[in-house]
């Protein structure tokens, strides 16, 4: 059980982190202090062409080892401690750090794969170092604590973004550690998730076959990797990816005039189907996607105001930041909410 929320301004207009913090705070009945986090898009305009790696280090040794490793592989344009404030509720067990990097020219053609590989290697083989986000012009901020305290810790209100997501976690299946909080990220995909992915084992083994390593002991990471695989690598649209992960029932496929289409999706991508109760918000640089499990076992509400699309576990979370909305609706299972930047693909 968790609370989640997010919004995107389709014109790319940026707002600071106050609103998203309020949104998260409205759902405190849904989670406890064992994991909160934010994803923000558009926060590094001065480094928008570089990959921004957000890392959590356990100690100085881990940082040195990571730096050694990165130096051999990529061009580090800049690196620095991620600014934090001291917050009494959260013990500073990790040092958050960020690197802005360029991928060497030889690897440009396979830049994204190269980066996924780099992230997997750091997370898999450098003890005490953990990459929490790796996209361009975006970042994930997360820790063990209530979202509002995490926001204070990372001074979220200092960042301006056109798309935000928030998550408050009530961990039941995995222990609360900073890296285990949501959002989960790979490249510019960030995922926040409420519920449980009971098909985790099936999904994990499918992803492993495609070179992803699911090391986090948590079910949500498979969603980020599935989006990366389906949309980036297989070139499928977000809509198709959603109908793979949360497909129509056979009963309805059998009487659909697109029977062959859906049959092919389910046959080919059976191991990518997500099962169990979930509401998920996925962001990348161009869009925000929110969808449910097939029988809608977790809540999700969507709303629009002008060019901004909102989603959250509870209507109240949206109303708290925008009391008057153009439209509020409960999306159907199987009908994802997809909001894209009006100039998606561009800068």
């Amino acid at each position: 059980m968790c609370g989640l929320g997010g919004f995107i301004n389709k014109d790319g207009k940026k707002v600071d982190g106050t609103a998203i913090t309020t949104m998260g705070g409205m759902m405190e009945a849904r989670y406890d202090e064992r994991g909160g986090g934010f994803a923000a898009y558009g926060i590094y305009p001065n480094h928008s062409d570089q990959y921004a790696l957000h890392l959590l280090f356990d100690d100085e040794r881990a940082r040195e080892a990571t730096e050694e490793y990165l130096k051999d592989r990529v061009n580090i344009v800049k690196d620095e401690c991620i600014p934090t404030a001291s917050v009494k509720e959260i013990a500073p067990v990790h040092v958050p750090w960020r690197y802005f990097i360029d991928v060497p020219e030889d690897f440009e053609a396979v830049e994204a794969d190269f980066l996924v590989d780099t992230v997997m290697k750091i997370n898999g083989s450098i003890p005490g170092a953990f990459v929490i986000s790796s996209g361009k012009n975006m970042g994930v901020f997360k820790a063990t604590g209530l979202p509002r305290n995490v926001a204070a810790l990372f001074k979220i209100s200092d960042y301006k973004a056109y798309a935000w997501s928030v998550h408050g976690r009530f961990p039941t299946n995995t222990q609360g550690w900073w890296g285990g909080a949501h959002p989960f990220n790979i490249l510019d995909w960030s995922v926040v998730h409420n519920g449980e992915i009971s098909s985790y084992g099936t999904n994990k083994r499918y992803l492993e076959m495609h070179g992803y390593e699911c090391k986090l002991r948590t079910d949500t990471e498979v969603v980020a990797y599935l989006f990366d695989l389906l949309v980036r690598k297989h070139g499928l649209s977000a809509e198709v990816a959603c109908s793979i992960m949360s497909p129509p029932f056979w009963k309805n496929i059998d009487r659909s005039d697109k029977r062959e289409y859906y049959e092919a999706l389910r046959m080919t991508y059976a191991p990518a189907m997500l099962n169990g109760p979930f509401a998920i918000i996925v962001n990348n640089k161009d869009s925000m996607i929110a969808f449910n499990d097939r029988i809608k076992l977790r809540p999700l509400i969507a709303a629009e105001l002008g060019e901004t699309t909102f989603v959250a576990s509870e209507e109240a979370a949206i109303r708290e930041i925008e009391p008057e909305l153009d439209r509020v609706w409960a999306p159907r299972a199987g009908s994802p909410v997809i909001a894209r930047l009006n100039n998606a693909g561009g800068k």
């Binding site: 009945a29 009487r255 029988i295 809608k296 809540p299 509870e314 209507e315 109303r319 509020v328 409960a330």
Partner: protein, 245 residues
Amino acid sequence: MKEVVIDSKGIHYKVLNFMIEDAINAGATKIVLENVNGQRFLLDGVNADVELEVHGTAGDDLAAFMNGPRVTVYGNVQDGVGNTMNRGLVVIHGDGRDIVGHSMRGGKIFVKGDVGYRVGIHMKQYEDNYPVVVAGGTAMDFLGEYMAGGVVLILNIGDAPFTGDWVGTGIHGGVIYVRGDVPEFLLGIGAKATDLEASDKKLIKELAEEYGRYFGVDPKPIYESRFTKIVPISHRPYAKMYTDD
């Protein structure tokens, strides 16, 4: 009549519910909550002769276990309105979400607009008590799931084709009425569509009139339209499933 007005802005539900309790104990017969936004469990388990007016978005489990009060919401509600409610009335001038009337045993819920998933799930009736859920708009999947008693009435005032899937799946008591057609393939396991009898028409008329009174809608064109009635095929739908039966 003693009326109490509470500005709920920024008040945690726990505190707010204590304030409501205090007001009732002090003899309030009408309580008006202004600026409600997401507070849960309003009137949860309250057994009193009291009227509640909610302005804003009511949080989850509004009127859960409620036994008697009358609630009017000017706004939408979140999940679980009338959860296991026993008696009373909830009138919502907005939309209802998922599991409206979950396990409700008595009382009435009127929703002006649409309702979400699993509305009326496991509603049941007991002796003269039976629960009623009426929605003016449409409903999503699993309407009246496991329903064991009571009435669910979907007025579908927008006249959109009904698309809620698995209607009445597992139903073994009670009745669902949907204005317009419900195609066979949307019916859940154990549910069947049948013709309306005079008593059904009478009940629909009464409930539509009541709906009309709450929301200022002319009920006549509504109750005079065609309805689909959905009832259980059997009261023991799975008798043959288990070898020991």
